[in-house]
């Protein structure tokens, strides 16, 4: 290598041309004046923080880590990574109890699931919501995701022999949401994959991907999760040479990108094996596999690209897959943040900005007036359903619904 043939810097912060394009696409900046904006919080601030950590600004916590700045950046600066890793390095404040609770999705899930009817009843009560609002500052407008009585893991484990009989195999990183709140999505995936002659396996014992831990300032815990997950995924991906599919775009982004870039956990040998289920299915179909669809399925579907799907750049797979279903009238919504950003929108102090961020998307949904909004992210689902009243389904569930028996 010759001197200066290439230049490089941490998360590419030196590539920043100060063009300010990122600020035009930052959903937070448009609604929250306390946030300094991605350019200042990211590459500008990084130069000062390198001089002295004193320049770390606690307002960086307002970043939702949606990564739209990174998608917009003409210079490939990892703006959101810069902001999140600055928080990891310099933020010495202890996360609040509320943030710990919101972040511990799998822990809460495993506690709540056995008592699902009771928990769902309690968290659904107005009085509980008011109490959560007052004590923990979880906004009263939010509805806690319902907990399912039986976990998806338990359901699939009982079918492991039947799944093992299929000629093709994949492993499924189901994530907390499918496991505790919405096993139906997992079952839909199994249905679609089985229709492709593919059996679904569990990982040895997955943990929450850790995305909520990262954004809530609990990176040490997140790193433990990451190390564990990488080792169990390695067993599937390297030892058994399986693809590892997932139905949540945030889980996939975390497993593939945040582990090495933010947490310093090496996943280079397994990264390419982790894919969104929609990409996996699309590629199978492209290679000649076929799915048979119902003839009586007629739906108007509007597809919303979740922020992390946008960052992965894989919205195209979900889109093309949905367009394959005969009888679907498809609209691609303008790619915009819904405002929830994981646990961000649950926090009382963020409720208003969260809703304001999403308004452009909500009004477009209202004007398109679809039967179903499709999207690959569970928190977008909650936000869009709460804010618009439209039903939101993962593309995999729509696919499953449209399959001929």
């Amino acid at each position: 290598m010759k001197l200066q043939e290439i230049t490089e810097s941490r998360h590419n912060f030196e590539e920043c041309m100060k063009c300010t394009v990122c600020t035009a696409y930052c959903p937070v900046l448009q609604v929250n004046p306390l946030y300094p904006g991605p350019k200042q919080a990211g590459p500008d601030g990084e130069r000062l923080r390198l001089k002295d950590p004193f320049f770390f600004n606690y307002a960086l916590k307002y970043c939702m880590n949606c990564k739209r700045c990174e998608v917009a950046c003409p210079s490939d600066v990892k703006v959101a990574d810069l902001i999140q890793s600055a928080r990891i390095r310099y933020d010495k404040s202890k996360p609040k109890l509320r943030d710990r609770i919101l972040a511990s999705t799998d822990f809460m899930g495993s506690l709540a699931r056995p008592f699902a009817p009771i928990v769902n009843g309690i968290t659904g009560l107005g009085i509980t919501k008011a109490a959560l609002d007052a004590t923990l500052k979880i906004d009263r407008h939010r509805t806690f995701p319902k907990y399912s009585g039986r976990s998806f893991e338990a359901w699939l484990r009982r079918r492991s022999r039947e799944q093992a009989a299929f000629p093709e195999q994949v492993a499924y990183f189901h994530g907390c949401y499918v496991n505790y709140n919405n096993p139906a999505l997992g079952k839909d995936l199994v249905k679609v994959l089985n229709a492709l002659d593919t059996g679904v396996q569990l990982l040895e014992k997955e943990k929450c991907c850790g995305i909520a831990l990262i954004t809530n300032g609990m990176s040490d815990d997140a790193r433990k999760h990451a190390t564990h997950n990488v080792s169990v995924i390695r067993k599937a991906a390297v030892d058994k040479k399986l693809k590892v599919v997932a139905t949540s775009s945030s889980c996939v982004l975390t497993l593939r990108e945040e582990y090495p870039n933010l947490l310093g956990v090496d996943n280079s040998d397994i990264r390419d094996s982790i894919v969104m289920a929609s990409r996996y299915i699309f590629e199978r179909l492209e290679k000649g596999a076929t799915l048979k669809f119902r003839e009586d399925y007629h739906k108007r579907i509007a597809y919303h690209t979740p922020c992390h799907m946008e960052k992965l750049g894989w919205g195209v797979f979900s889109e093309k897959l949905l367009r394959m279903i005969p009888g679907i009238e498809f609209t691609l919504l303008d790619s915009a943040c819904c405002g929830i950003a994981g646990t961000y929108g649950f926090k009382k102090e963020n409720y208003e900005s969260s809703q304001a961020v999403g308004e452009a998307l909500f009004s477009q949904i209202r004007s398109v007036n679809p039967d179903i909004v499709a999207c690959d992210c569970e928190t977008c689902k909650w936000q869009i359903e709460m804010s618009t009243g439209y039903q939101v389904l993962n593309p995999i569930s729509i696919l499953a619904e449209a399959l001929a028996d």
């Binding site: 600020t23 998608v71 490939d76």
Partner: protein, 377 residues
């Protein structure tokens, strides 16, 4: 994934090519490495000096208002420059003496609109000027982060409260026959600039600001929406890394996000921009085109890349990839059968096609025609 044409670059050239091909029923994908030069667009298609129905149709179908007249436009620092084809945001005057008296209105705390420069420039042309600022409670809230009070932060707010802004401006207006405002209206709501023109009883002129350009971002968004509505696949934030080429024919592109999933096509259009957009890269030793390794002409002595005077034309800005008369790109002296280079990556190598936005549109349309000529494979 297989398309008729894969376009590398999602700026003006790439989108014009993509929209035109989709309209002809050809399937396309655009790979866009982040946002592009449209975000710094002045609003005037420099070097497009002819009324072009084809371009007018393309823009109006996307919901973008453009107009054609020959004259001059007001530049952000108070000078005038020749203009013809422009966005509706940009006023074109037969002469620089377009008014008797002008009221120049900025936004309190907004540093990227150069009122005093405008006033000085206009007064030189015999237009009397008065400078004022306005503010609104909604903008004041935002001044808490005045650190970043930029066009793109103010514009979304003004979309919502433009009527209050008009009221403030009308209060300031005395006997002036022109009002100069910063070009920060109509970020999402494209109807706002027109409404402001109607509501203010004087000639309203929007003068450009420091980038990002509000009309430019709006143009980008509308073109992209038009492209997607026509069924185009816009891969935002992805990057073309390399290509599979066999005997002068490109077969597929490898991208950063799609990794092992190659993008195949019959035709490829390289609209990846100049140095800023990394269509071309440079290091101390050479200037290169990173995806296909196309031939780039540049001086061998690095000293000759620059003129030491900032104000003079810079030789490096003339560098571009080599093409034949049909814009087919050339690598190692050999013509690439199905690869067309368009837009700023041509640098100054095709002066007959103009420069800037004009070059982007003309070359993109020329490549589209060439693809259509070779038949819809």
């Amino acid at each position: 994934m297989k398309f008729n044409s894969v376009i590398i670059g999602g700026g003006l050239a790439g989108l014009v090519a993509g929209i035109s091909l989709q309209k002809e029923g050809l399937s396309t994908a655009i790979i866009s490495t982040g946002q592009n030069a449209l975000h710094f667009f002045s609003g005037s298609f420099e070097s497009l000096r002819e009324p072009a129905p084809r371009i007018a149709e393309l823009f109006s179908e996307a919901g973008i208002g453009i107009h054609y007249s020959e004259g001059v436009r007001l530049m952000p620092l108070g000078t005038f420059r020749e203009a013809a084809l422009s966005l509706d945001d940009v006023s074109i005057f037969p002469t620089s003496h377009f008014a008797r008296k002008a009221l120049i209105v900025g936004v309190t705390g907004y540093q990227d609109f150069f009122g005093s420069f405008l006033a000085e420039g206009l007064e030189k042309k015999g237009i009397q000027c008065r400078l004022r600022n306005f503010s609104l409670p909604e903008l004041d809230t935002f001044r808490q982060s005045a650190g970043e009070m930029r066009s793109v932060q103010i514009a979304p707010i003004l979309d919502r409260v433009w009527e209050s802004a008009v009221r403030e401006i009308r209060v300031l207006l005395k006997d002036e026959d022109a009002v100069i405002l910063p070009q920060i209206f109509g970020f999402q709501d494209i109807s706002v600039p027109g409404k402001i023109r109607r509501e203010i009883p004087a000639k309203v002129v929007f003068a450009g600001t420091m980038p990002p350009s509000v009309p430019g971002i709006r143009t980008q968004r509308l073109l992209k929406r038009r492209y997607e509505t026509l069924g185009g696949t816009y891969l935002a934030g992805d990057e073309a890394l390399s290509a599979h080429v066999h005997k002068g024919t490109v077969h597929s592109i490898v991208t950063k996000n799609l990794d092992s999933h190659y993008l195949e096509a019959d035709n490829f259009i390289l609209a990846s921009g100049g140095f800023f957009s990394k269509g071309m890269k440079s290091n101390p030793f050479q200037i290169l085109e990173p995806v296909f390794g196309l031939d780039v002409e540049f001086a061998s002595d690095r000293n000759d890349w620059y003129d030491p005077d900032f104000m003079k034309d810079q030789p490096y800005m003339g560098y571009g990839v080599r093409t034949d008369s049909s814009l087919r790109a050339i690598a190692g002296g050999e013509m690439m059968e199905n690869l067309f280079a368009v837009g700023s990556i041509l640098g100054g190598t095709r002066p007959e096609l103009g420069s800037g936005a004009g070059l982007a549109i003309r070359s993109a349309l020329a490549a589209v025609d060439e693809i259509l000529k070779t038949g819809k494979r």
